[in-house]
Symmetry: C2
Subunit: 449 residues, 2 copies
Amino acid sequence: MAPYVHERSRYNLEDGALPTQWYNIQADLAHPLAPYLGADGQPADPAALAAIFPPPLIEQEVSTERWFDIPGAVLDVLHTYRPGPLNRARQFEKALGLPDNVHIYYKYEGINASGSHKANTAIPQAYYNKISGISKLSTETGAGQWGSALSMAGAQLGIEVEVFMVGVSYDQKPYRRIFMECFGAKVHRSPTTLTQAGRAMLAKDPDTLGSLGLAISEAVEVAATHPDVNYSLGSVLNHVALHQTIIGQEAILQMELAGEEPDVVIACIGGGSNFAGLAFPWYLRRKEGKTKTRLLAAEPKACPTLTAGAYEYDFGDEAKLTPQMMMYTLGHDFVPPGIHAGGLRYHGDSPLVSQLVHDGEVEATSVWQKDVFAAALEFARSEALLPAPESAHAIAAAAAEAKAAAEAGEARTILFGLSGHGFLDLSAYENYISGKLQDYDFATGAVVE
Amino acid sequence: MAPYVHERSRYNLEDGALPTQWYNIQADLAHPLAPYLGADGQPADPAALAAIFPPPLIEQEVSTERWFDIPGAVLDVLHTYRPGPLNRARQFEKALGLPDNVHIYYKYEGINASGSHKANTAIPQAYYNKISGISKLSTETGAGQWGSALSMAGAQLGIEVEVFMVGVSYDQKPYRRIFMECFGAKVHRSPTTLTQAGRAMLAKDPDTLGSLGLAISEAVEVAATHPDVNYSLGSVLNHVALHQTIIGQEAILQMELAGEEPDVVIACIGGGSNFAGLAFPWYLRRKEGKTKTRLLAAEPKACPTLTAGAYEYDFGDEAKLTPQMMMYTLGHDFVPPGIHAGGLRYHGDSPLVSQLVHDGEVEATSVWQKDVFAAALEFARSEALLPAPESAHAIAAAAAEAKAAAEAGEARTILFGLSGHGFLDLSAYENYISGKLQDYDFATGAVVE
């Protein structure tokens, strides 16, 4: 039979062609990262974290070594879904009406059961805690992707997982809760009576719907008060960004297969680990003189941390339980409007990404959620993939870059990260297609037409 | 950095290595397929189907040509998600405690947005109707996979899609409805007042929850009474099985990459197209003397068409609107217990698969749904993929084959088809993990402990 005459779209790596090291951008910053500050306002001692994190993760958090070897047992589990796909979005390019010299590629992280890039750090976090003698991980989840990823990793590596799920999410997102339970996790509706923080809140307001800040407090309290329990965080921190760098390392090999060098690398940003995972290896490549690519973080206009926040020391949580970090922030008490990309509703941002933005190494843009959903559906209908609303911020930014290049008559190669699928976000899509979805001014909460 | 020392698990085909022809098993049957019978009990004239199907599909339905070329425009759309993955389930093998000489491979069809193999026939059906001057396809959906696939294909190929969704499913599965609407389909809660069949039912019982038979009647009526509308069916028929054979053709190339010949090829079966798609190319390979593999269809014990049904002429639907087909059937008025694998609750079976079972070319087995969900979770936790309940029938059958081989001390290579993902089936998983899920005797409906 005649072969299929095709334009190549898929750039699969060989089975087993996994990155075997994580890239630590702290080795290559123009100046050292500002230290975390403790409750006394002085630089925090990393050892203070030992009550809730295992030693290998604390070491990764503060190290300036360029490369960390990925343990074989971690590679074996990553290997169940990696290396991941990188595709050229040819049908999406056609749908956008782009000229021949504007190309869009995307790196997809939604293959694993938990459905997003979060698995890339959940697996090593479960591993390092297990080998450090920890029997259980406690964590919080709002939108649910992180709790799902840690539950899956716990099942794969044999460590218990206890999730404090924000009450309102617990009520509204039963599928996410069930998913975690499928993987053996114990899921609590936060606040609970299991912790002092939870009991205090329930005494004050028995009908509370909970909050992410409170769920964090509960998860941290459980870890801090039980020697065999540690806490696990899915974004923001340096070691989380480190684990995600397998994404960008794979993408570099795959763009080499495609024979193209991107002019811009785009990823959505909430806490920052997804953006860091794709972009940091490209930062190194640029430093090595092998690329001139721009690095662009796409955030929601309803929570415009990088584009409208201040670069200053702030707490990671509303309750001021965390150390203070130097980062872009909208204020630790900022409550963003209720947009559907729950994973991007964070007041702050990764200190690493924040410093790079402040230094002019990384650009940031913000996107209205109506434009995000429009781009998501155009992408879904042409490329046969349903994106998560968070991930679709990168699609919208990529489409804007592509259209700008076409209008300027310039060639442009765009690579964006598609961090996860949207099968558990269909109610958000319904809001959009039924015309109920609205955009909000982040400062006033007022509806923007 | 040192390469990852791995045991190979993934057998990706080169980009563009799509099968360019469909395999028509009617060329290789031991004896011709028994003809469909019309309302008068005489062999039906294929031309009678022209009111609801386009000429190319009618030709494919009755042809005995061995190969059909896949049109380039169809290949371009299949190329958005094909060739698909074939993986060795090494972590699942470990979870089952299998010896080194028992291997399990699976071919996965859940990559495309609609989430199952159904897209493989939805795309060519949309194409052939479009080039035949049809502007709209009408169809029914129960569990929702088929409606999702046809909606996606309609968006990709530019043809309208109208879906009659069984009332009770419309109420209970809003995510499936929203998914179809995301891809631009018009979804009705069946019965509607749009058709004579629907109005008659509503007059009789205004509170009816609908049925698949009635939804079929509505969809067929719309097609038969509008010259620019055709009807589209997602399983059972020969041309549907034909389109699915790209699955098995890819799997043969991928098992060659793996350097193994399966001893048994397993797929779940409802109407039969998923099983046909994986198994028929292996049937040809066996006929050519290149393999001795067994072919095994796995069905639910609650709807045991092949293992407990009669091989005789019967209608395809409860309302006796279809031609009669020679097939295994539990009776066109059989209503299976309400198990969670909705896609497998069909009283009959593909005439092609039925004949092969009757001739001893294909084996069949049936599985309890509790065993199905137990196998599904074991697979999910080890392989990082959440299977659809339908697909998990094949997992359970594969695990049983593997354990039997291990107990007998025999080497065995098992290939099974994983027809789709389970992200929209989480309520079924909740039923299982909360202990509410039960098994039923198919004949009496009584709970089986």
